[in-house]
């Protein structure tokens, strides 16, 4: 079978100076990780955090330099290990794609680090936090840079490990530990597909180098030979991203992952973990042929819609953003599905900035809420307070104006108001979807309709969150007026928190991406950032319709939440469905977890059975042995015992005449002697 595909030699290419720079950037967080992990509590917390942050800043600067100075593609490839003549290579590919992603990742990570310096200062278990962050970033860089699927998989899993460690960072909370486990296992399940993809590709093409695979797949597509291979491999890789990029039905781990520290959530949602899936899919898009892209589109569409619907009914401030991320990832996947790689990547980039900003600003509010809780704790009247519940917030606009400003800018970007980055990227995706629908017709129109609906839904739930958090009264006072004095104490956060907010918020404006505020096609991003990118027609009605949807949704939301008390905002059936994640988890438990435990018990029973069989065999032998023993004892031994007993009887008869006195023995000797003499004399 594999003979049908021509064999391509895998050449080794030494790294040039640019690649060396990229490698340096890659190794910096790894060294930071090792350093901070092993020094642990032996160095001062401030030194630790500033060291990690400083390294991240240097990395960001270097990445920018790398991005500016790079021209064309830089591929370098080394031997990792070899088995006789079989060589396993590792390689690094630098192009616009990867350097752009590096800039995004390092920038967001840098911001999150800055933010964390202040945020984590007052929290316990500080010592492992920054090393884990460094591990997270380095794994992400590995995924970005690697041009080998096997190596990519390594970093892919390491991202999973880092997320496990960070989500479970407050391990003492049961929800945290459970969420960490859940995240890892859901991702691991999806990763099995990655393993299968590697298996298929290696078995068929003999290599896992992405650039070589690309040639080979193109060749086989041209020859129409074994198309099933790339189809199944593409399907497997897509399924791997379903886990990491949180697509339906495996997205349920992502909302739970909010149990980790807020900066981690920002990092997770913006630049590292969930982006990794989309990025990988973009990298290996040559594998997505035949019906696989349609599947991706449909699942992306379902994800976008379902997550947006759930966001509407969630009261946990971070979970709203989490569902929003899932929904936006659905958009990106839709774009990947219709072949608009550039639009997908564009949205990935813009989303990274504004989602990070949203998370960090909500984090600042939560930070303030926590302060209140700890104040109370100081006064000895501790009450369990859900600092994440939006129903208890409100009126933070005046208390925290900078946070509010950052939030509202990125809010505008997310819902896609004109002059903001989200507007550009979302319109690019919608345009691509529309183009596709024009070509293929039928069900594709349904996708377009859902996409537009979801635009409206996004605007609705974001407006709702904004109103609940920043406008109106501080509702916690309604339940417990004793919080009044603490609420009065709330002030704007420290500058270390505000600076990242401002910088990230600024990135939500259009001009960073395209000078034309209404269309990105002419902007530098769409032109330069991509090696591959198809040209899209610009349809003026798409932004207009999208904006109409948005404005309408805002209007409805304002109308609804301006007056209504948030506590009444519950419709039981729907909320129950949403709160249970559409019963996906229940379904997974029912379909997978319970059967697994059933099988486990069955296997255990089998083990017992095997043991019993062995015991039975042993008992059988024992019975046979007993029979043999009886024969031995009564028949064979009996004879021997009879002879021995007889002699012993005679012996004991004579022995009874001895009293233990030595002279007694002499007497007997003498008697024996005399008898001998007698006998001698008799004969003589």
């Amino acid at each position: 079978m594999s003979g049908l595909i021509p064999h391509i030699e895998v050449p080794l290419i030494p790294a040039d100076s640019i690649s060396m720079l990229a490698l340096t950037i890659f190794f910096m967080p790894i060294i930071t990780f090792i350093l901070l992990f092993f020094t642990g509590k032996h160095i001062l917390a401030s030194i630790r955090s500033w060291l990690a942050t400083g390294v991240m800043g240097v990395m960001f600067v270097l990445s920018v330099y790398l991005h500016i100075s790079i021209k064309g593609e830089h591929l370098s490839r080394w031997i990792w290990f070899e088995i006789g003549t079989i060589k396993f290579t590792t390689s690094m590919l630098l192009n616009n794609y990867s350097t752009t992603m590096m800039v995004i990742a390092t920038f967001v990570s840098f911001m999150v680090h800055l933010y964390s310096v202040q945020y984590m200062k007052e929290r316990r278990n500080h010592s492992k936090y920054f090393p884990y962050l460094a591990l997270f970033v380095s794994s992400m860089l590995g995924i970005i840079l690697s041009d080998n699927l096997l190596i990519t998989f390594i970093f892919w899993e390491l991202v999973g490990l880092a997320s496990f460690l960070l989500i479970g960072f407050w391990y003492e909370k049961d929800t945290s530990a459970a969420a960490a486990k859940k995240a890892f296992l859901y991702n691991k399940f999806a990763d099995l597909a990655f393993v299968i993809a590697i298996m298929i590709l290696y078995a068929m093409y003999g290599t896992t180098e992405i650039s070589i695979l690309k040639e080979l797949v193109n060749l086989s597509v041209t020859y129409q030979a074994v198309l099933a291979v790339p189809i199944f491999a593409g399907l497997a890789i897509w399924f791997a991203t379903v886990g990491k990029s949180a697509q339906f039905p495996l997205y349920v781990w992502l909302p739970d992952a909010m149990a980790g520290p807020t900066p981690v959530s920002a990092l997770l949602h913006a630049a590292t973990m969930v982006a990794a899936g989309v990025f990988l899919l973009l990298k290996t898009s040559f594998l997505l042929i035949d019906w696989v892209p349609n599947l991706i589109t449909i699942f992306g569409c379902v994800t976008a819609l379902l997550a947006a619907l759930q966001a509407i009914r969630t009261f946990d401030s971070k979970k709203v953003l989490a569902f929003s991320t899932v929904s936006q990832l659905g958009y990106m996947m839709m774009a990947v599905g219709v072949g608009a790689d550039d639009a997908a990547f564009f949205h990935l980039a813009t989303h990274a900035f504004f989602k990070a900003c949203l998370f960090l600003s909500v984090g600042a509010v939560i930070h303030a809420m926590h302060h209140m809780q700890s104040h109370q704790f100081d006064h000895g009247q501790y009450k369990e307070l859900d600092a994440l519940d939006m129903r208890l917030m409100g009126g933070f606009r005046k208390k925290m104006p900078i946070t509010f400003a950052a939030y509202s800018v990125s809010y505008a970007a997310l819902i896609g108001l004109p002059f903001f980055s989200g507007f550009l990227s979302k319109d690019a995706i919608l345009g691509a979807l529309y183009d596709r629908a024009v070509v293929s017709g039928s069900w594709s129109w349904l996708i377009v309709a859902v996409a537009f609906t979801t635009v409206g839904l996004t605007a609705f739930y974001m407006t709702r969150q904004m109103i609940l958090i920043f406008f109106g009264e501080f509702r916690l006072l309604k339940t417990d007026a004793s919080y009044k004095k603490y609420f009065d104490h709330i002030v704007e956060s420290e500058w270390l928190i505000n600076i990242p907010l401002i910088l990230l918020g600024a990135m939500s404006f259009w001009f960073f991406f395209s000078l034309n505020p209404l269309h990105a096609q002419t902007g530098w991003w769409m032109k330069d950032a991509f090696v591959s990118g198809t040209h899209h027609e610009f349809h003026i009605f798409i932004p207009i319709v999208a904006s109409l949807f948005t404005l309408g949704a805002i209007a409805i939301a304002v109308q609804k939440y301006k007056t209504i008390d948030a506590f009444v905002d519950t419709r039981l059936t729907l909320t129950r469905v949403f709160a249970n994640n559409y019963f996906i988890e229940k379904g997974i438990t029912f379909l997978f977890v319970q059967p697994v435990f059933m099988i486990s018990n069955m296997c255990m029973a089998t083990d017992d059975f095997i043991n019993r069989a062995i015991h039975a065999k042993a008992y059988f032998f024992i019975v046979v042995a007993q029979l043999a023993d009886v024969f031995d004892r009564w028949v064979i031994d009996g004879l021997v015992h009879f002879v021995a007993g007889f002699i012993r009887y005679i012996g004991s008869f004579f022995r009874s005449y001895l009293k233990g006195n030595i002279q007694g023995y002499f007497y007997f000797t003498l008697i024996a002697f005399a008898l001998m003499l007698l006998w001698l004399g008799w004969y003589l």
Partner: protein, 564 residues
């Protein structure tokens, strides 16, 4: 020294045993130093061997391929009309043995360090442990099957007493079960060896006898045997030299294993039965489903160091025997049975993982996970591709390190509280942070996290198995696909355990004295950290080992394919 380095490596512990004789008193401190010192010397020797070993492209099972060969006639026994039994003291090292020797030196050293706290009859314990240190390297280096069997059986004796005397509550039951199970395997193996002995001859040694007749070559002898001239000659020399056995010309054409033999038992040829017997014999040792039930009991009852050695090395002898003996001697049969072998592999992986999921005893869970991981070895063997077979060897190596680490960790906890039940602990991380860090490393290593040695092994096995399924259809495609579920299951039980035992608020069962829960001491840290360091080292730089053993494994595959 260099010419006898293998013998020195094997019999070095004998010096230690002699040394123990001269140490007086009940003081266990001096005994443990002897063990540690001797195993450290063994480790140094094997590291020297490892660095001196030059990877070259050679043939599998040929005298030229053996670096540091040692061969001497041990004894010859005339058996009348059956010919002459010739037994050689024949040691040699190639890529396959090299990895196992390195592993056993590392694990034995770790085990000796873990025997630090043995106070009950310490002299006997360390003497038995040192005997184990003789027989294990001997088993990996012997290339005469007689010698191999000698070392193989000799391992049982110290193991039996180490479990039976220094074990836990049900130690007698466990040790007898272990002994009987393994003995059954040994008997099957012995039967095959006897059949091999009577149906082969050794032309090289016969040459030495007839060398007075000028012009006689090995070919002459082989032709003579095959034409029937030399058969039924009392001067025919039989031996169990593995190199000679690997050559099909050296089988009597009409013998039990010969090509012309048409005798069948229950519809299968004698060769098939011999292969099955070897397979079962080594699968018991490995262990694979359904011959695995001795392992959890033996592990649970054994003292820590013995568990370490048991999981770290003894299981590998099963896999080593399959790769070294069963497959090369019966390639045709192994190829024919690949479907069933693959099935055994996949079943073992999943079955043991399922059982591990519901264990409440930490040590038992790890024991079952060992079984599960050894299933990968069988799967890699079934496909018989270079990647898969290398993966299998690497899996044995890495699992040796990882399971040693895991059992050491369980031992640490058991030493402190004498309780291993998972539900009895919660939130240990806040009480024993360093311990928890290493446990996390070990768990992730065992579940095949990339960057650790287990990942390299498993991914190599998977791609090898899948390649075998696609290229040669040795096993069906679904087997490697289903086997990937093993990764998910092992992640499940490890993470679940992590969540239950180490995360959450600290609490323990009331039967546990909390004051005994102390974090790791410096010496424990040194041992555990260095083992985890090795695991990560071999995970990040597999070239250290694979570049050395790769040519051997490639030669193995081509040998296997040619013979088939």
């Amino acid at each position: 020294m260099a010419t006898h380095i293998l013998s020195i490596l094997i019999f070095l512990p004998l010096l230690g045993v002699l040394g123990l004789l001269f140490i007086q008193g009940d003081d266990h401190r001096s005994y443990r130093w002897v063990s540690v010192l001797v195993t450290a010397l063994q480790l140094a020797l094997s590291i020297y061997l490892f660095t001196a070993f030059k990877p070259e492209y050679f043939q599998f099972h040929s005298y030229d391929s053996l670096v540091y060969m040692e061969k001497a006639n041990w004894f010859q026994l005339s058996l009348g009309n059956l010919g002459i039994l010739s037994v050689n003291y024949f040691l040699g090292i190639d890529g396959l043995s090299l990895s196992m020797i390195l592993l056993s030196a590392i694990v034995l050293f770790a085990g000796a360090c873990a025997s630090w706290n043995i106070t009950k009859q310490a002299k006997g314990y360390h003497a038995l442990y040192l005997l184990l240190c003789i027989s294990i390297p001997g088993c990996f280096l012997a290339l005469d099957l007689f010698l191999f069997f000698l070392f193989f059986e000799f391992m049982l004796l110290p193991m039996f007493f180490l479990i039976g005397i220094w074990g836990g509550v049900r130690r007698e039951y466990a040790s007898i079960k272990f002994f009987l199970y393994t003995l059954l395997g040994s008997i099957l193996i012995l039967i095959v060896f006897i059949v091999l002995f009577i149906s082969t001859y050794n032309p090289a040694e016969m040459m030495e006898y007839v060398s007075s007749n000028a012009g006689v070559t090995i070919q002459h002898i082989q032709e003579g045997i095959h034409s029937g001239e030399l058969i039924n000659n009392p001067s025919i020399i039989h031996s169990l030299d593995l190199i000679q056995l690997s050559n099909p010309v050296n089988y009597f054409p009409n013998g039990l294993l010969g090509e012309h033999n048409t005798l069948t038992v229950f519809g299968y040829s004698i060769r098939t039965w011999c292969f099955i017997a070897l397979l079962v014999g080594f699968l018991i040792k490995l262990p694979a489903f359904p011959f695995h039930t001795w392992l959890p009991d033996a592990h649970v009852e054994a003292p820590t160091a013995v568990s370490v050695v048991l999981a770290g090395i003894l299981l590998k002898i099963g896999g080593y025997g399959l790769i070294r003996i069963a497959w090369p001697l019966f390639p045709q049969e192994a190829g024919d049975a690949s479907w069933w072998i693959g099935l055994i592999g996949v079943t073992t992986i999943l079955y043991a993982a399922f059982v591990a999921l519901i264990q409440t005893d930490l040590k038992k869970m790890i024991a079952y996970s060992s079984v599960s991981h050894m299933g990968f070895v069988v799967l890699g063997l079934a496909a018989a591709k270079t990647e898969g077979i290398t993966g299998a060897v690497y899996q044995m190596f890495s699992h040796g390190l990882i399971s040693a680490l895991l059992f050491l960790l369980v031992g640490v906890l058991y030493d402190r509280t004498h309780d291993r039940m998972i539900p009895n602990y919660r939130g240990l991380i806040s009480k024993m942070p360093a311990y928890s860090v290493i446990v996390t490393i070990a768990f992730f290593a065992s579940l095949g996290l990339p960057g650790m040695s287990g990942f390299i092994a498993e991914i190599l096995i998977f791609i090898g198995a899948f390649k075998g399924a696609i290229d040669t259809a040795a096993i069906p495609v679904w087997m490697p696909l289903v086997a990937t579920l093993g990764l998910l299951l092992s992640a499940s039980y490890y993470l679940w355990t992590l969540q239950r035992m180490f995360f959450g608020k600290f609490s323990t069962h009331m039967s546990i004295d909390r004051n005994t829960l102390k974090d790791l001491t410096v010496s424990e840290k040194a041992l555990l950290y260095s083992l985890s360091g090795l695991i990560i080292l071999f995970g990040l730089f597999p070239a250290i080992l694979l570049n050395k053993i790769g040519p051997s494994m490639e030669a193995w595959t081509s040998f296997f394919i040619n013979m088939k």
